[in-house]
Point group: D2
Chain length 318, copies 4
C-alpha cells in the first residue's frame, strides 16, 4: 500500500501515519520528494489491509450527494445529449427512480471523424435546463482544454474519458479547477497507470477524484470490452478513492447491464454509471446498451439490494 500525504501535511502528520502503520505490525518506508511525501507500507497484505488510516477513504461530495465510504451512488442518463425533449424526459426518469446524478455527453469522442461529434455548447445548455428542472447534479465529459470554462459552468463532475486517461494536459488543468472528476480507465491501461493518472489531478490539489472501471480490451470478441470487476477490490486496496463501474459501455448490450451492475455492487463498488433512454431504438448513439426508461426504477431497486450485500446504502432522495 502506498500513502501519498497531502502537500499541507506536517512532519507530525507523517509521523502519526508511521506510528499507526507500525502499530499494525507493518513497516513504513518514507520517500520525501520535492512535492509530496509518499509512505510505502510494507508487510503481510492482510495485516496491511486492516490498518485503519484516519480519513483513509475519500468521500466525494457533489451538491449533497456523497460518493464513497458507506454510500452507493447511481449516475444515469442518455449516452449523448440529443434533444431537449429526450434530455428532460430522461432526467425525470432518473430523478424519479432515485438516482443520484445525471449524465449526458455534449462533447463525444468518436473513433471516426465522420460520426456525430455531440451538440457541443448547445448540449451543455440542455444539461443546465435538466439540472434546473430536476435538481440533479450533472456529470459530463471534457475533451478539449479550450472547452474547460464552458463545461465548468454546467458540470458538477467533470468526466475524463478512457481515450483521455493519459491526456496529461487535460488531467492537470482539471486538477487545477478543484471540481470533482470522474476518471475512466483507458481501454488497456493497468491499474497502476490509472492511479498515476489520478495522481496528475491530485497533485494539483484536487482530491475529488472518482475512478471508473469501464471494460478493458482483451482477445474475447463475444462482447465489446471485458468488464474487469476484480479492479474494484484491488483499486480500493491500492488507493483511498471511490470506485465506480460503467457496465453499459463494456457490454454494449442492454441485457448484460443488470447482471453486471449487481455484480459490481456485490463486489463493493461505490457506484455505477449507466445509460437509460426513453426510446433506445431511436437513440443517436449507443441505443442498444441503454436501459429502457420503463425498466429503470426496477433496476434501481435490484441494485439497492446488491449494494446492501456489500454494506452500502443508496442515499435517500432528500
Amino acid at each position: 500500500m502506498m500513502v501519498v500525504m497531502k502537500e499541507s501535511a506536517t512532519l507530525a502528520d507523517v509521523e502519526a501515519v508511521i506510528e499507526r502503520v507500525e502499530m499494525g505490525g507493518a513497516s513504513a518506508h518514507v520517500s520525501r520528494g520535492e512535492l509530496v511525501t509518499v509512505i510505502g507500507v510494507i508487510g503481510d497484505r492482510e495485516h496491511v489491509g486492516s490498518i485503519e488510516l484516519e480519513g483513509a477513504r475519500t468521500v466525494v461530495e457533489v451538491d449533497g450527494r456523497r460518493i464513497g465510504g458507506p454510500h452507493f451512488t447511481t449516475i444515469a442518463g442518455p449516452c449523448t445529449v440529443e434533444s431537449r425533449e429526450v434530455m428532460l424526459e430522461t432526467a425525470r426518469t432518473v430523478r424519479d427512480a432515485g438516482a443520484g446524478l445525471l449524465r449526458g455527453g455534449a462533447y463525444k469522442p468518436r473513433t471516426s471523424p465522420y460520426s456525430f461529434q455531440g451538440l457541443g455548447e448547445a448540449g451543455l445548455r440542455l444539461l443546465q435546463e435538466a439540472k434546473d428542472e430536476t435538481g440533479l447534479p450533472i456529470v459530463t465529459e471534457l475533451m478539449d482544454v479550450r472547452d474547460l470554462d464552458a463545461v465548468l459552468e454546467v458540470a458538477d463532475v467533470i468526466q475524463l474519458g478512457a481515450r483521455n486517461m493519459q491526456n496529461y494536459t487535460l488531467l492537470t488543468e482539471v486538477g487545477r479547477t478543484g471540481r470533482p472528476v470522474l476518471l475512466k480507465r483507458g481501454l488497456s491501461s493497468t491499474l497502476d497507470e490509472l492511479l498515476m493518472s489520478a495522481e496528475y489531478v491530485l497533485k494539483e490539489g484536487n482530491e475529488q477524484v472518482m475512478l471508473c472501471e469501464r471494460g478493458i480490451r482483451t482477445f474475447e470478441t463475444g462482447y465489446r470490452f471485458t468488464l474487469d470487476l476484480m479492479a474494484i477490490p484491488v483499486l480500493k486496496e491500492l488507493s483511498h478513492l471511490p470506485v465506480v463501474v460503467d457496465p453499459s459501455h463494456a457490454a454494449g448490450r442492454r441485457d448484460l447491464v443488470l447482471p453486471m451492475s449487481l455484480a459490481a455492487a456485490a463486489a463493493g463498488a461505490d457506484g455505477v454509471m449507466v445509460e437509460t433512454h426513453p426510446a433506445p431504438e431511436e437513440a443517436i448513439c449507443d441505443g442498444p446498451q441503454a436501459l429502457r426508461a420503463e425498466d429503470f426504477s426496477d433496476y434501481m431497486r435490484r441494485l439497492e439490494q446488491a449494494a446492501a450485500l456489500a454494506g452500502k446504502e443508496l442515499q435517500p432522495v432528500a
Copy 2:
C-alpha cells in the same frame, strides 16, 4: 441462439421446437447434419431470450446435488490432495459449512516439470476416504486418458483443466463415460471455443457438462488472471449448460475470493469452486489463495445472500 437437438430427437421433437420459436416471434433455421440437428433461432435478442424451450436448462445431478436451474452450488476443498490429515480436516470443514461437493487434485498440471505433480493414485485413495467419511461427492481433475479408469473409481465429477480445454482426446473419452464433467475455460479461449469444446463431450451423448470461468489472460499484471464475469450471462444465453466460477485461481489472493464470489453469484452463476485449507501457510500449492478454514462458514453465509439476489438457493444439507 443455437439449439442442438439430442441424437434421439424425432422429427416431431424438432417441429415442436420450431413451433415454439415461431410463436415467440422469432424464426428458426434448421440444419440437419449426419450426427445432430441444429436449430438456429433468429430474431431480436430480447425476444429470443424470452422463448422458453422445454427442458432448456440442463440441471446436472451429482449424488442428489443439483447444479443449474434454481440451485446454487459450492464446490470446495484444497487445491491439491497433500496428506490424509489435511484432506479429511478440509472435507469436514466443507461439509459442516454446507458446501455441496468436495474438490481436490490428485494429478496436477504444472508449468514446470520440476514442480510437485500431485500424489496420483495415492491422492485418489485419500479422496475416496474423505468421501466415505463425509458423504460429499468428489470433483477431481483428469489429465491423462490412461488414468481414466482410476479416476472414474473415485470422481463423481471429472474436472478438465484450462490447459486441457482443447485436448480433444480427453474430451471425447470423458464424453463416452457419461460421468458429469466440469470443463474449465482455457486461459485465452473465447466463449465460442469453450462451447465447441463442450460439444466434444455432448456429442458422445454425455449431457452432464458444467462450464467454468476461471480467469483469462490479459495485459493487466495486477493479478494472475482477469476474471471475466460477463461470461456468466453470455454463456447462459448461448447455451443451456450450468456455469460455475472459480475465483481462487483468477485472483491468486485470498482477500479477493469473497468479493469475486459475491459478484459471480449476483451475476447469476450456478455455483462457485473455491479453495480452502486448514493452514494455508503450509499448503504445498496455492496457499495464498485458499480461504482459511475458520472463515469458510461465514463465506458460505455471505454467498447464500448473493445467490438469493439472482433468485437462486443453496441446497439444504439433506
Copy 3:
C-alpha cells in the same frame, strides 16, 4: 480496400477510379458523404491488391527527404532532448551515418506526474540549433494544443504519440497546419482505429501523414510491448500512407533493436525511428534501449541491406 477521394475530386475523378477498379476485375461501391466520397473496392483480395490506382502511394516530402514509395528512411536521435552537448553530438552521429531525420522530445508524456516532463521550449531551441548545424529536419512530439505554435517553429514533422492517438483535438489542429505528421499507433489500438485517427488529420486537408507501429500491449511480459510487424503489409493494403516502425520503444532493450529493425525493413516498412545516444548509461530517459553512437553507422549499413530485400533504397546524403 477503401479509397477516400480528395474533397477537390470531381465527378470525373470518381468515375476514373471506378473504371480502373472494374477493369481490374473488381467492383466499386460508391458512398457520397457530405464531406468526402468513399469508394469501396470489392473483389478477390489478390486482384484488388494488384489494381494500380494513380498516385496510390503517398510519398511524404520533408525538406528534400522522401518517405514512402521506393524510399527507406531512418529517423534517429535521443529519446529526450536533455542537454546542448548531447543533442549536438547525437545530431552529428545521426547525420554522419546517413540517417534522414533527427528526432528528440522536448515535451515528454510520462505515466507519472513526478517523472521528468521534458525541457519544453528550451528543448525546442536545442533542436533548432542541431538542425542549423547538421541540416537534418526535425521530428518532435506535440502533446498540448497550446504548444502548437512553438512546435511549428522547429518541427519539420510533428509527432503524435501513442497516448494521443485518439486525442481528436490535437489530430484536428495538426491537420489544419498542413505540416507532415508522424502518427503513432496506440498501445491497444486496432489498425482500423489508427486509420480512423489518420482520417482526422487527412480530413483537414493534410495528406502528409506517416503511420507508426511501435508495439502493442499483450499478455507477454517478456518485453515491454509486442512489436506487431504484420501491421506493415496490412496497413499498406488498407491505406496509401507510409508506414514507419519504432523498434526501440517496443523492445525497451538495445540488443533487440537491430534484429527488429532488419525484420521491419524486410517486411516492407518505409522507415524506422530509433534512439541513439553517445552515453546511454547516462541518458535521462530510456537509455537501455538507445543504440550506442559508436554502433550507429554499422546499424545503418545492415539496415540498408534489409531495405534492399524489400526493394527499397536509403536516400543518398545530398
Copy 4:
C-alpha cells in the same frame, strides 16, 4: 541466462561452465537438483550474451538436414494430408524448390467436433509414400499418446501443436522417444511457459527440440493471430534451442506469408514452416493461407536472401 546441464554432466563439466562464465565478467549461481543442475548466469545482459558456452547452440539433425546454428531450414507442405495426388504433387514441389522437410497433418486438432479431423493412419501412409518418393524427412503432428507408435513409424520430427503445448502427458512421452520435436507456442503462452514445456521433453533426455512461434492472441482483429517476431531473439537469448516461425497460421492469408517469412529470417530465425498447395482454392483446410505451388520456388529464393542477412545459409540439396 539459464544453463541446464545434461544429466550426464560431471562436476568438472559444471566447473568448466562456471569458469567460462566468470571469465566473461558475469557470475554463476549453481542449483543442484535431484535431476539436473541449473547454472544461472548473472550479470550485464550484453556481457552475458557474448559469453560463448561450448556447444551452446543445439543443432537438430534430421536425416542429414541441420536445423539451428548457421543453417536456415524450410519446412513446407499442405496443411492437412488430403489425397494421394495432392500429397505427392506437393512433395515434389517442395523438394524441387530445395526445401528441407515436408510437413502434412494426418491428425488435425479442430475447434469443432463436426469439422474434418484428418485422415488418421491413412494420412500417415500417404506421408510415407511421399517420403519414399522424394527423400524428404516428414514433420507431422501427434495429438493422442495412443497414436504414438503409428506416428513414430513415419515422422522424422514430431510436431506438438499450440493447443497441446501444455499437454504434459504428450510432452513426456515424446521426450522418451528421443525423436526430434517441433514444439509450437500456445496461443497465449509466455516465452517462459514455452521454455518450461520444452523442459518436459528435455528432462526425458531428448535434446532434439525446436521451438516454434506461430502467432499469439491479442486484441487485434485485423488478422487471425499476431506474429510475435521479437520472440526470436529473446528465445535465442534464453535458450540454446533452434527457433522456427510459422507465418501461415498467424496470418491466415497467403499475401502476408512472404513479408512475414522475410522478416522472420532477417530477425535471425533458424527456419520457417509454411503451407503450400497445388490448388489452394480446393484445399480442405486453410487454403487461403497456402502459398501457390507455382510461386514456391520464387518464395524460396527470396527467403535465401533474407536468411543471408542474418548470416544463415540454406542447405544445398545433397
